[in-house]
C-alpha cells in the first residue's frame, strides 16, 4: 500500500513536471554577468554609471526577480511571467490573503519533492517597488527614490542587492528554474560601482 501510493505519486508528479516543463520551455544554465571592471574603460562617469546599471538590469529584469515585483495584486511565475497558479493575491502585508498565505505552499527552503520554491522571507515586493512593465530607466529612478524604495539610502540599496538572502534566492531557485545571471556578489559589485560613478540612470 505504502509503496504503491508513493509510486503513484512519484509517477504523477513526474508527468505533471514534464507537462509544466513543456509549457515553460527549456531552461538554460546561469548566464554570465560582466563585472564592474569591464566598464572601467568608459571615461565619462555618467556614461559608465548608466552602462553599469544596464548590466545590473539583466538581473533586475530577469524573471526570478520580476515575478515577485508585480504591478498589480498578483505575482507571476515561470520564464514567461504567467499569472501565479494557483491564484494568489499580495494581501495587506504582501504575504497573501487569509487562508491563502505565501506560507500555505512556500516553506523555508526549496522543496524538490513538490517542486515548490521556498525561503524564510517569501513575499512579494510592495506596490511601490513594482517593476513589471517598466523600463530599466524607470526602475532605476524607483530604486533611487527613498519614498518608493522603503526609505533606503543608496548604501542600503547596495547592501540589499549584495547580501539580502531573499534576493540571493534568485541564484539558487531550485528545480529547473533558470537562475539570475552571474552571482549575487557580482550584482553587488556592479551596484557599488554604479553608485560610485554617480548612480546615473538610463533614459526612462
Amino acid at each position: 500500500m505504502t509503496t504503491s501510493f508513493r509510486m503513484l505519486s512519484s509517477v504523477k508528479t513526474r508527468l505533471i513536471a514534464i507537462v509544466l516543463a513543456g509549457t515553460f520551455g527549456p531552461f538554460a544554465g546561469a548566464a554570465d554577468l560582466r563585472g564592474a571592471e569591464a566598464f572601467s574603460s568608459i571615461a565619462d562617469p555618467n556614461e559608465r554609471s548608466r552602462a553599469l546599471f544596464i548590466e545590473a538590469g539583466r538581473v533586475l529584469q530577469h524573471p526570478r526577480c520580476l515575478n515577485c515585483h508585480p504591478v498589480g495584486e498578483r505575482p507571476t511565475q515561470g520564464k514567461d511571467g504567467h499569472p501565479h497558479s494557483p491564484l494568489v493575491v499580495r494581501g495587506p502585508d504582501d504575504k497573501g490573503a487569509i487562508a491563502m498565505r505565501c506560507t500555505t505552499c512556500h516553506q523555508t527552503a526549496n522543496y524538490e519533492q513538490s517542486g515548490v520554491p521556498g525561503h524564510p522571507l517569501w513575499h512579494v515586493a510592495p506596490k511601490s517597488m513594482a517593476w513589471q512593465g517598466k523600463s530599466l530607466g524607470q526602475i532605476c529612478a524607483q530604486i533611487k527614490d527613498s519614498k518608493r524604495n522603503g526609505g533606503k539610502t543608496l548604501a542600503a540599496i547596495q547592501e540589499h542587492m549584495a547580501h539580502d538572502s531573499l534576493v540571493g534566492w534568485a541564484w539558487s531557485p531550485g528545480g529547473n528554474r533558470e537562475p539570475a545571471p552571474g552571482t549575487q556578489s557580482q550584482l553587488g559589485s556592479l551596484i557599488a560601482a554604479w553608485i560610485d560613478s554617480g548612480a546615473a540612470c538610463p533614459a526612462p
Binding site: 505533471i16 494557483p86 491564484l87 487562508a99 523555508t108 515548490v116
Partner: protein, 153 residues
C-alpha cells in the same frame, strides 16, 4: 534523528527521512486518511491541514518543517468555526464526490477563524487554491456565508 510532532493534540515521534512530505506521515505513518492526496505539487489543496492555525499544503512541506508546531487535520477539528462549517456543509449538501472537501473545509475554517464575516472576495481569495472537479464552488461559497451567519448572528 527522531522528529517530535503534535498532531491533533497528540505527541508523535517520526523516525524517517526529515524530508518526507508531511502528508505521507499523516496518512501512511499515523493512519489519518481524511487528508487527501491530490496533485502532490501544491496546486489542488486536497492535502490542506492547519499548522499553528494557518493553512498548509501537507504535500509540499517536509515533516521537519512542523517539528514542535501544532498540526490539525480534518479529524482534529473542534472549534466553534469548525462546528459552524460542518453544520452549514450538511445543511447545504455541499459535497458531491467529496474528495476535495477535506481541504475545502480546512481552508474555510481557517478563513472564518480569522474573519468571521468574510466578503465574496475574501472567500474567493481564501479558497482559490482548493480545486473541486465537481464544481461545487457556488455551494461552498454559500455554505461559508451560512457558517458565517451562525458565527456572527
Amino acid at each position: 534523528m527522531s522528529i517530535s510532532l503534535n498532531i491533533n493534540g497528540t505527541q508523535r515521534e517520526f523516525d524517517g527521512d526529515p524530508e518526507t512530505p508531511l502528508l505521507w506521515v499523516i496518512r501512511e505513518e499515523i493512519g489519518l486518511t481524511g487528508t487527501k492526496y491530490g496533485c502532490g505539487i501544491a496546486q489542488c489543496g486536497a492535502c490542506t491541514v492547519h499548522v499553528d492555525g494557518q493553512t498548509l499544503r501537507s504535500c509540499s512541506a517536509p515533516v521537519s518543517a512542523v517539528a514542535g508546531r501544532k498540526v490539525t487535520t480534518i479529524e482534529g477539528l473542534s472549534s466553534r468555526a469548525a462546528k459552524a462549517v460542518q453544520k452549514a456543509w450538511v445543511e447545504l449538501d455541499v459535497v458531491q464526490c467529496g474528495y476535495c472537501q477535506s481541504g475545502q473545509i480546512m481552508s474555510a475554517i481557517a478563513l472564518l477563524e480569522k474573519k468571521p464575516n468574510p466578503t465574496d472576495t475574501d472567500i474567493d481569495h481564501a479558497m482559490a487554491g482548493n480545486i473541486c472537479r465537481c464544481a461545487t464552488y457556488q455551494r461552498i461559497r454559500a455554505a461559508i456565508h451560512a457558517a458565517s451567519s451562525q458565527l456572527t448572528g
